[in-house]
């Protein structure tokens, strides 16, 4: 009798790993919320025996989770920099999308009409420097500094009232009117339709965000993970990304992990 229970317990303990063979754990940057969810559904439709689990967050949050041992098969990052501290399958690295920054203001607000208005003592919310979009924001301000001067940028920096944990937190605060402006990706603007309106950033200051995806060596589902990465570059997935406003990954990799 007791042995029977033991056997059941053993089987019960084993079954999750059997299920795991059909599951893909994908960690994706917050800005990919809608597009990656859609791509995952497309992939599941094509491979009915695979279930895709998605975990969204600021890329630096996801990286920290992975470093602490969270089960992950694929990471879809909003930049190359965060990958530096991870051990992934180097041969799997591929660029699947690009993005650009956008300036958003609460839809009813008139305080910010142009990019230059950022230095008029307004309240600005951006992402934390360790979040990819926060890093891109700092890059953008650095570009602007060359033309508009360090006094201009100093004024902008003074207006920063909070540095949020991911791009969607920036968007949420601007939607609530807690800031006069925020810096997000162009792809985020449509997810807060009616609540925010975007102000163009002059292209000479704008920064291109690169979206790489990688798989992890120790992931048990090697063929599925490779299949998913390949799928990211196929027409269906690319069409989905394009419909959400992402750019094609055709630009050469100029953001190769730098050593600081």
């Amino acid at each position: 009798m007791r042995r029977k229970w033991l056997l059941l317990l053993l089987l019960g303990g084993m079954s999750p790993s059997v299920i795991h063979a059909q599951t893909l754990n994908i960690f994706a940057a917050a800005s990919l919320k809608e597009s990656a969810s859609e791509i995952a559904r497309q992939f599941e439709r094509r491979h009915p025996n695979i279930t895709v689990n998605l975990n969204f967050g600021g890329t630096q949050q996801l990286v920290a989770q992975i470093r602490e041992g969270a089960p992950v098969d694929i990471l879809m990052s909003a930049g190359f920099e965060p990958l530096k501290s991870l051990h992934y399958d180097k041969s799997s690295l591929l660029l699947f999308a690009t993005n650009k920054l956008a300036l958003v203001v609460p839809s009813g607000s008139k305080r910010v009409q142009s990019f230059q208005d950022l230095a008029t003592g307004i309240r600005l919310i951006v992402a934390a420097p360790r979040v990819p979009v926060g890093r891109y924001t700092d890059e953008m301000l650095l570009k602007a500094q060359r033309e508009l001067g360090s006094a201009w940028v100093g004024k902008v920096n003074q207006g920063i009232v909070s540095r949020e944990q991911d791009v969607r937190a920036v968007l949420a605060k601007v939607s609530l009117g807690e800031a006069d402006a925020g810096v997000v990706y162009v792809t985020d603007v449509s997810t807060a339709k009616g609540k925010v309106r975007s102000i163009p950033i002059p292209s000479k200051y704008n920064v291109q965000a690169q979206y790489p995806a990688v798989r992890f060596n120790d992931s048990a589902n090697a063929s599925f993970t490779r299949g998913f990465l390949k799928f990211l570059l196929e027409a269906d997935a690319q069409k989905t990304l394009k419909s959400h406003g992402f750019g094609p990954p055709n630009t050469p990799i100029d953001h190769k992990p730098k050593t600081r």
Binding site: A64, A128, R130, V161, S162, R163, L176, G177, E178
Partner: protein, 253 residues
């Protein structure tokens, strides 16, 4: 004496699992922090300073504004008393993140009561006071309900005024419990995270308190986060010890 309920050894054995469960994380944190021996960066130093300032202000506000409310609930019978008594506990059941959103909707720049406190140190104090006040209010109501009425009545017979009775008899009698409640709410304010990051945001030196710095730190600089966590743990421990000592002090005379 206690033999009728069994031997203490067996009871301790039964209580061991939870004790071990509670102590292992504490042990792990301290061992790692001591092992690392990292120096606190200026950024984290600012978080420590800000946390102490804001949580102390929160405690003072809670005690100053909460004492009269606790007193009226404890000592008088009036129409909405039971409703107020129940509402006091509301922030405890509120998930802190929900409290943060509620504070934004209430006191945000386009809130029900529009203010421009969001993303300032005032917002930090508001978030802390919101989540921490029940701990003081509960302790104070408890203290006022159970204090000795005889002394008050004889003082009144001798012609003492109500305010004199409250300040000279009631408050001293309840002192230990009130301080205990104040320290508990201060500790809760010190640990406040969810409501703060949502309502006050995250800016070094302005709104980034210790819990926020720990949360952000673990993603970028784990060793700093560990050091800061250990510091918070030590502070919290001494606060609890202080409360215990004061409670025992109040019981002995």
């Amino acid at each position: 004496m206690n033999r009728i309920v069994g031997r203490w050894g067996w009871w301790l054995l039964a209580g061991m699992p939870i004790l071990v469960f509670l102590l292992i994380p504490v042990f792990a944190l301290i061992v790692k922090a001591v092992d690392n021996r990292v120096a606190i960066t200026p950024e984290f130093g600012q978080a420590i300073r800000l946390s102490f300032e804001t949580s102390l202000i929160s405690m003072i506000l809670i005690v100053a504004l909460g004492t009269p409310l606790a007193f009226v609930v404890a000592r008088f019978r009036f129409p909405v008393r039971r409703v107020i008594n129940a509402l006091i506990d509301l922030p405890i059941v509120f998930p802190p993140a929900a409290a943060g959103i509620a504070l934004l909707l209430a006191f945000g720049r386009h809130g029900l009561v529009p203010t421009s406190f969001g993303a300032t140190s005032i917002a930090v104090v508001m978030a802390q006071s919101f989540v921490a006040s029940p701990f003081y209010l509960r302790a104070a109501i408890h203290a006022f309900t159970r204090s000795d009425y005889d002394t008050e009545e004889s003082a009144a017979l001798d012609g003492a005024r109500p305010l004199t009775i409250v300040t000279r008899i009631v408050l001293p009698q309840c002192g230990a419990q009130l301080i205990g409640g104040g320290v508990t709410s201060w500790a809760r304010a010190l640990g406040e995270f969810g409501a703060t990051i949502l309502f006050a945001g995250n800016l070094v030196g302005k709104t980034q308190t210790m819990p926020l710095a720990i949360y952000i730190g673990w993603e970028t600089d784990l060793d700093q986060a560990i050091a800061l966590s250990a510091i918070m743990l030590v502070i919290a421990f001494f606060a609890i010890v202080a409360v215990r000592l004061m409670a025992e002090d109040g019981r002995s005379p």
